[in-house]
Symmetry: C2
Subunit: 345 residues, 2 copies
DNA sequence: TTGTACGCGTTATCAT
DNA sequence: ATGATAACGCGTACAA
């Protein structure tokens, strides 16, 4: 195919009326052709569509039909975590005849409301929301209109809504017990933002392990990282300046773990010789490092599958059904980043 | 705010007519209020909107106004490379009053046409396309309608269209000359898919360096990786089975480099002691590995900025202007993954 | 199977 | 600044 020059800019693209005229049929017939129903002279219509460069106007169609066959997806960003979930949801939605309208809400201030307005303005049939625990006026407004909504990973407190979440607490406890079993007694934690449910649960899991083992909980070994790489770096810096130094670190999400890794490398602290490390979340990076990082892996494909399933069931539900809550288990993936501490203290 | 139960599902959300009635004004006045123009009794209208839970229907508005203030973005996937560009474009578009409609085209077969139809069906005002070099009937059809389009990284052959691309060839030559300067004479290359312009250019840059230095070009040292991790792994496997073995490898994109790293690690081939490595593309991983990987880094933020600028200028252009072509330079980031070969042969 | 006419929610226009 | 009304492009119901 050769496309070497641009056609002169048409003020508007062809409409179904023009196609009907060109094909010598009525618009109803063209509409049926477009929607795959049988018509008498399909070839004429096809040729007219081809000739005019016609594209169906989905906007106009949706006004009348009141359904866009589109699900809005609201994610903080396109990082590796959400990217993988998005790939899954988009796929599952498509198989059910839906498209995904994906918008990020964390790039600038108050863009969450903008994002919500955009999606609702485009009359998505439902809304999938990732990693959002904070209240938002716009979102609450939408929720109250009865818009089908499904959250994954966390949801605003007190909202009775469809959700898919992972078990954070117990799995963290088990990971910490692994460290304790091999002799660690000073385990530092880089926490996410306190007040966000998943991070609260991970911290609780960390504490429970200490309580179960009769170990003291040292506040100096709990450093806030707020979920970002930069703050993960600084939290690790504080941890490694504490006295006594921790012999192991648990980092509550992968962004912060990257910060931790940066600091450890700068300080020339070797894993696992000088320190053991466990991270929540599994990303490619952690498997490729030498040694690989032992992680608590969230089942991303399952989260995507379940949240899509829940949404589709909500969309097809004829009557009101109570919100469903799905809880998935994480896996501990042992790699080489943990080892007994160098010397007992 | 408390949101503990769902309102009964309304069959449809409030319309501008209902708002107008409730506020005792005409729909024209409500429309003006919504669009930020001055009205006499804004508070009444605000209250009515609040009360009725009204959300403007962007679909209906766009039918009449013929503008959606929306730009479609077409990317193969949400990998780290595109994720960073998307963050930039979305931001720049928003600042200009546009929203981004992002769709991936590589998740399943023939989904490119579906994606194009979706975006055009939603009447995006323009289209930004990433990493697409193949022809596509649907896309060509759109192009010929005069839809503003801007490509980044590559574009279909023969299309005279706005584009932002990086300089692949010379920078690769310079990177190879770095290897040659420190004594390498057997440099392997893992190529991307031949026929895709950026990868053709990178291969040419590799060859030019050899020609300039008077080194032979050994076909056995050029292994196709087709851009994927799996094939990068296998290409590296073939390279390390060649005789004589290369003392350095250049990998043409980051996905393939990850495959290369996996193979080297499995075979216990150490970087840079046993082999030197340079990769095209810079991702987090490469800076965190020990040693860090020397890379040719594409200016992602600039690509995003430029492609958005080009698109916005095209959108605001009153008359036909010839397509613009922006070419950006890459940077060579030296880390620790290169070193003179162990022994001269 | 086909054609016609109306409805969808908004914006644009124009007279006030 | 406001109100009334005609588009906008498509789906759908109904009559043919």
């Amino acid at each position: 195919m050769e496309v070497t020059s641009r056609a002169k800019k048409p003020s508007r693209s062809a409409t179904i009326v023009e196609v009907a005229t060109a094909a010598n049929v009525s618009i109803g017939t063209v509409s049926r052709y477009i929607n795959g129903l049988s018509v008498r002279k399909p070839e004429q219509i096809r040729a007219a569509i081809e000739e005019l460069g016609y594209f169906r106007n989905a906007l106009a169609g949706s006004i009348r039909s009141r359904a866009t066959k589109t699900v809005g997806i609201l994610v903080p960003n396109f990082d590796e975590f959400h990217a993988r979930i998005l790939a899954g949801t988009a796929n599952h939605l498509r198989q059910a005849g839906y498209s995904a309208l994906t918008v990020t809400y964390a790039d600038t201030a108050n863009s969450l409301s903008e994002a919500v307005d955009f999606l609702v303005g485009h009359r998505v049939d439902g809304l999938i929301v990732g990693n959002l625990s904070a209240e938002n006026k716009s979102l609450a407004k939408v929720f109250q209109t009865g818009m089908p909504m499904a959250f994954y990973n966390t949801h605003p407190d007190g909202w009775s809504v469809d959700r898919v979440e992972v078990e954070n607490c117990d799995v963290t406890t088990r990971a910490m017990e692994h460290l304790i079993d091999i002799g660690h007694t000073h385990i530092g934690i880089v926490t996410g933002t306190i007040g966000q449910r998943p991070h609260d649960e991970r911290l609780r899991g960390y504490r429970n392990a200490h309580i179960n083992a009769g170990l003291p909980i040292d506040p100096a070994l709990q450093q806030p990282g707020n979920g970002t790489r930069r703050e993960g770096y600084e939290a690790a810096n504080r941890l490694m300046s504490a006295s006594p130094q921790p012999t192991a670190i648990f980092s509550s999400n992968y962004q912060m773990t990257i910060g931790v890794l940066q600091l450890l490398r700068e300080r020339n602290i070797r894993i696992p010789d000088d320190i053991s490390l466990i991270s929540f979340d599994d990303v490619d990076l952690f498997a490729l490092l030498d040694p690989g990082i032992t992680v608590i892996a969230q089942p991303l494909a399952d989260i995507a599958k379940e949240v899509t399933r829940v949404m589709l069931e909500r969309l097809s539900a004829q009557q009101m059904v109570p919100p469903v809550s799905v809880r998935l288990d994480c896996n501990i993936v042992l790699r080489g980043s943990t080892r007994p501490p160098k010397k007992a203290d």
